[in-house]
């Protein structure tokens, strides 16, 4: 790992040197500030997380090319926690204590975030977490740039219930077996019940990480769907299991017009290796889609395409962007702006300065970090898969909406305050 990190650093230094050639005064004193990148580059989550590492590096390069942060050159330290949850905590500790990074950008699965949370709280580190998740958490050491349930899961289910979405009345909640799908499904179950859906009309199923054989599950869904009433599937399957799941779905001929599948962890990147023709019409709910048409997005996509080509990344032939990439990119800039406002890299000062920061994001809106609850205000989009693996936006909110990390559909949450508390101490 050290060697990889070293290579990355060398590559980065070389590229920084190359960009600096035109203006030799840039970074004359070579003041640097280190930032950590904590994403799985191997194992079951690598399919989703590798691009996040690259997009963070792109943002860092971009910042350096424009003079760095307050004249400091940003140096990214990349580590690979290998989809291994305890290793996430170890690597986080290494980043904070040995590398002394000012901030860490990282994690995808909630289980990895829960694993690093005590480390960040103990050492007073700062983590920008770029993925939609189940809520139920506000740590003062974490900024959540992905969606909370009310910014993704709830609108998606409401859409499927509406006339336009097909008026679904029966629900299959299908997920990978860990904290995010379990909690999301708990929230959704309570939400569905509040809408008058009977217990018998909800089916919940879980598979282990890395599961590859979805025959029985799809047969079960088919049987459940034939028991009357319009059925929809809510998928919180994470990682590379999505590829065999969607392959089986296509091969078994379960069409979106009969049983639509809405996914919360499947974007352009996860569908890369799948034949999407049989999947046309299945849905995903996100706060960003690559197919969004606005000047920011066009510019961002172009930048990413050029970056992948310049760095000869494996996806250079078909550069895709997706929601967590956008959230990761926004996170880097939020931190930069906050550090500049605080005129310091001190975690406590940067945290206070992050409140209320706003950024013109590729989703076409100027999105804002909430003044209190560490979450972004985000617009919600629901897209249907097209034959080419992109998404048609079929529904969207008029503008960004505020996150509710404490879902009102979980009992006891009404008492919890919409601002950070020490999480690790309580658990």
């Amino acid at each position: 790992m050290e060697r990889r990190a070293l290579l990355k650093t060398l590559a980065l230094a070389a590229s920084a040197a190359a960009t600096g050639l035109g203006s030799p005064t840039l970074f004359a004193q070579q003041k640097t500030v280190k930032v950590g990148v904590l994403h799985s580059l191997s194992g079951t989550m690598a399919i989703s997380e590798t691009v996040l590492k690259d997009v963070v590096l792109m943002a860092v390069d971009e910042i350096n090319a424009n003079g760095g942060v307050m004249g400091y050159k940003v140096e990214a330290v990349v580590v690979d926690p290998a989809s291994n949850w305890p290793l996430f905590a170890e690597k986080a500790r290494q980043l904070l204590t040995q590398e002394k990074v000012a901030v860490v950008f990282g994690c995808w699965t909630s289980v990895s975030r829960k694993s690093v949370l005590p480390v960040f709280e103990e050492l007073n580190g700062l983590l920008f977490y770029p993925v939609q998740y189940e809520g139920e958490e506000i740590s003062k050491n974490v900024f959540y740039t992905g969606a909370a349930p009310n910014q993704q899961a709830i609108p998606a289910v409401e859409y499927l219930m509406s006339k336009e979405g097909g008026g679904a009345q029966r629900w299959v909640l299908l997920g990978t077996d860990y904290v995010y799908p379990r909690t999301t499904n708990k929230i959704l179950r309570a939400f569905l019940k509040s809408k008058g859906v009977a217990e018998a009309d909800i089916m919940e199923e879980y598979t282990p990480f890395g599961h590859t054989d979805y025959q029985t599950i799809i047969a079960k869904i088919k049987k459940f769907a034939a028991e009357g009433k319009k059925t929809a599937v809510v998928s919180t399957i994470n990682g590379d299991s999505n590829v065999p799941f969607y392959k089986e779905l296509g091969n078994q001929g379960l069409k979106a017009t009969d049983v639509p599948v809405v996914a919360f962890s499947v974007g352009e990147e996860e569908l890369r290796g799948v034949d999407t023709k049989p999947l046309v019409g299945h849905l995903a709910a996100w706060n960003y889609f690559m197919s969004l048409k606005n000047p920011e997005n066009d510019a961002w996509k172009k930048k990413w395409a050029e970056y992948t080509k310049a760095k000869k990344l494996p996806y250079a032939g078909k550069p895709l962007t997706n929601d967590p990439m956008e959230a990761a990119y926004v996170g880097v800039y939020m931190w930069k702006q906050a550090a500049e406002k605080a005129k310091s890299f001190d975690v406590d000062k940067v945290r206070v300065a992050t409140y209320g920061q706003s950024f013109k994001a590729p989703d076409g809106f100027t999105i804002k970090m909430d003044e209190k609850n560490h979450h972004l205000h985000k617009p919600v989009f629901i897209g249907e898969v097209k034959a080419d693996g992109q998404f048609n936006v079929v529904w969207k909110t008029p503008g960004p909406i505020k996150a509710q990390p404490w879902s009102p559909f979980i009992a006891g949450n009404e008492k919890k305050k919409d601002e950070p508390a020490l999480m690790a101490a309580k658990q």
């Binding site: 690598a46 065999p244 091969n251 017009t257």
Partner: protein, 531 residues
């Protein structure tokens, strides 16, 4: 209900028209969903064959608008949706007309209703199938008209069923009773849905069907349909079991030689599977680069390539490491485990840590509709057949060839075989190569259904050992039975308890079984046991 507006317009405006209705096309392109659905009805009513093409284009996402114009764009070519004229230069600013699921369902139903009277049998059959999922009352006249002319024994029952499901909602008591009985003949999940809806109670506790006699008939029909559907479910489950069994068998067959016959605890077996999968990936890329026309046949080259590459890696392993460790199982275990880590890292360095994409050839996508509620996917059928072929080939090699004779001889009594002139080191090498090559074949097959990454083998090593030990070490037949039994058990448990519990239950079962019967399903008899 969603087809109602379509067909009201359709029936009201049943008159021939000369050209496509401009207003309808414009509403289709620019209107809200409800307007679009009304427009679909208006277009179908004109009965113009171009309407079907237009609707299909909208469903396929090929309709675009440029200012006021409506275009059908396919690749770089475009035609005007109204006139059908070719558009020479594409306007740069175009908007997609988006068809969501609701619209696509309306489109496919409208197009299917039109095609019910098509002269082509296959088209009619597909259309009837499409509508059997659920038809709207307003479709009844169209279905009846089609039914009058239809003589095909496969299509007629479908049409009768569609008509019945419609009459159920609207007809008089006698018609409803007859319809319920017709539905009882069906074996489609759609019929079950319709009957269940009939028997459901509304919010006020009243039945959807007021007549008790019809309800009774419906219950009887429902039982008949469910009995037939249950067969489909059983078939699906059996197929899933065989499919998983065939995968376990492929993964374990190689190990049945290296561990079962030769006694080498080969922890790098999973990585030999991975080597086979990556070989398939490389062959696929070579085909894509140099022979894109023959891409669908890349597997024909990938299968022997995977065998040869994995066999060579296996033989190198045997010559380089394992042969120095015969008779020392603990050292073998540690050494091969180390080798497995080396192989994983080597692949990470060569191909990157991320999964690579192995595409299915076109003929392996989709499946056969075996029964109304069972689809058997092609990729799984191909793998089952492949497993059978590999098994047969391996059995023939072991029982009918000189190498097989030597392998069996060396397994049973190494010293005696050496005494009668069998070159045991050479036989060891070849046997290990054979086992490794078969692991490579397994990798080639697994690349078609799962993910190909450096960790691929780790997911199968436990399963492979489980199958070999459960079947009885040294027994080929035992391996086959064990793979099938475990496949079935896993799928049966999965359908009851979910995937996570099923996995745990199977492991617990194996532990208990091995405790009670350490020799596995089939025990070796004779002197070899003591050796």
């Amino acid at each position: 209900m969603r087809f109602l507006p379509v067909l009201i317009v359709l029936l009201a405006a049943a008159r021939p028209a000369a050209a496509l209705d401009r207003a309808a096309v414009e509403r289709l392109a620019f209107g809200e969903s409800d307007e679009k659905i009304a427009a679909i009805g208006a277009l179908v009513a004109e009965g113009d064959p171009r309407a079907a093409a237009l609707l299909q284009a909208l469903g396929d996402g090929e309709m675009q608008t440029a200012g006021e114009r409506v275009l059908l764009v396919r690749g770089d070519e475009a035609v005007d949706a109204l006139t059908g004229e070719k558009v020479s230069s594409l306007p740069p600013a175009r908007e997609d007309v988006i068809a969501n699921n609701r619209l696509r369902a309306a489109i496919s139903a409208a197009v299917a209703a039109l095609k019910l009277v098509s002269p082509d049998r296959a088209t009619r059959f597909a259309a009837a199938r499409e509508l059997s999922g659920g038809a709207d009352p307003a479709m009844l006249p169209l279905v009846k008209r089609a039914l009058e002319k239809e003589a095909d024994p496969a299509i007629r029952p479908l049409l009768e069923q569609i008509a019945a499901s419609v009459e159920l909602k609207t007809g008089a008591r006698e018609t409803r009773l007859a319809a319920v009985r017709t539905l009882g003949q069906s074996s489609s999940p759609g019929a079950r849905t319709t009957l269940l809806a009939l028997l459901a109670r509304g919010q006020d506790g009243a039945f959807a069907e007021p007549d008790p006699e019809v309800r009774l008939a419906a219950e009887r029909s429902l039982r008949a349909v469910e009995a037939r559907l249950a067969w489909g479910e059983r078939l699906g489950l059996a197929f899933a079991g065989v499919s998983l069994g065939s995968i376990l068998l492929l993964a374990a067959l190689g190990l049945a030689i290296t561990y079962g016959l030769m006694g080498v605890i080969n922890m790098a077996h999973g990585e030999l599977i991975m080597v086979g999968a990556y070989t398939t990936y490389v062959v696929q890329n070579l085909f894509r680069a140099y022979a894109p026309g023959a891409f669908d046949w890349y597997l024909a080259a990938a299968v022997p390539a995977a065998f040869v590459v994995a066999a060579l890696v296996g033989m190198a392993l045997e010559r380089g490491v394992i042969r120095w460790l015969y008779g020392r199982p603990l050292e073998t275990l540690l050494a091969t485990w180390g080798i497995s880590l080396i192989l994983i890292q080597a692949v990470r360095t060569l191909f990157g840590a991320q999964n690579v994409q192995v595409e299915n050839p076109a003929f392996m996508s989709g499946g056969i509709q075996a029964l109304a509620n069972v689809v058997l996917p092609w990729n799984r059928i191909v793998i089952i057949a492949f497993a059978a072929v590999v098994l047969a080939a391996m059995w023939l090699t072991l029982t009918r060839t000189r190498l097989g004779l030597f392998v069996r001889g060396v397994t049973q009594n190494r010293a005696m075989a050496a005494c009668v002139g069998v070159p045991t080191p050479r036989v060891d090498m070849l046997a290990f190569g054979l086992g490794s090559g078969i692991a490579g074949l397994a990798g080639c097959a697994l690349s078609q259904i799962g993910n190909v990454g450096p960790d691929l083998g780790q997911g199968y090593i436990v399963d492979s050992f489980m199958v070999v030990v459960f079947g009885g070490v040294g027994q080929l037949a035992g391996t086959v039975y064990a793979a099938l039994v475990l496949g079935f058990a896993n799928k049966l448990l999965e359908s009851w308890s979910g995937a996570v519990i099923a996995k745990i239950a199977v492991l617990v079962f194996i532990i208990v079984f091995i405790q009670r019967r350490p020799q596995g399903l089939f025990a070796l008899r004779g002197r070899a046991v003591e050796a």
